[in-house]
């Protein structure tokens, strides 16, 4: 499912809203999540999961082509941990 398909489904379920409004709704939701992380915050959505920022220390990497050693600086990377309910929903039936 891509963003436009998500928007189409949501618009279908909400015939009282314009397509344009639904597009803006979806943009605002995901943009705000990104903004929170950029500010160094977290996003906590019970049942869905939590987004946070993790620090990766600087390390010595290698240029895979030449094998030369290169310094890789410390980085901040986005991280997602799925929520308990989502993990459970994915594993219904099958095993357990």
């Amino acid at each position: 499912m891509i963003k436009s398909e998500l928007i189409a489904k949501l618009a279908n379920e909400n015939p009282h809203l314009t397509q344009k409004d639904v597009e803006r709704v979806v943009s605002v939701i995901f943009d705000r999540m990104t903004d929170a992380l950029v500010k160094g915050g977290r996003v906590e959505l019970r049942g869905f999961g939590a987004f946070s920022v993790r620090a990766r220390p600087a390390r010595a990497g290698r240029n895979p082509r030449t094998g030369e050693s290169v310094a890789v600086r410390a980085k901040a990377v986005p991280f997602f941990k799925s929520g308990k309910e989502l993990r459970e929903r994915l594993n219904l039936g099958g095993d357990a």
Binding site: L6, N14, R24, T34, G41, V43, L45, F48, L90
Partner: protein, 100 residues
């Protein structure tokens, strides 16, 4: 810089402010947006949100693990887990880097 924690209520409020729909509509739309993502993942679909990232379900094989508390070996059942890969746009913004 320690930021704050964004929740569903904050998202609903942001949608209300920016799109101007009723608070009740906005709360419902935030909920359904997340639900639709979960429903697609349950079906085993990949969810691609351009500019944000990609959610994907991965199957993990059964393996032997250990109870970290007691050190006893314990069987881990095969299971499905979510992997999220942030888009290049999000990675660059979060890292605050000039590159990319």
């Amino acid at each position: 810089m320690k930021g704050e924690t964004l929740t569903r209520a904050d998202l609903a409020e942001a949608v209300h402010d920016e799109v101007g729909l009723t608070r009740q509509d906005c709360a419902g739309l935030v909920e359904r947006t997340l639900d639709l993502v979960v429903e697609a993942l349950e079906q085993g679909e990949i969810v691609k949100l351009s500019g944000f990232g990609v959610f994907q379900v991965r199957a993990k094989n059964a393996r032997m693990g250990r109870n970290p508390k007691t050190g006893e070996p314990a069987a881990i059942d095969p299971r499905r887990v979510i992997s999220f890969r942030a888009s290049q746009v999000m990675k660059a913004r979060v890292d605050g880097a000039a590159e990319a």
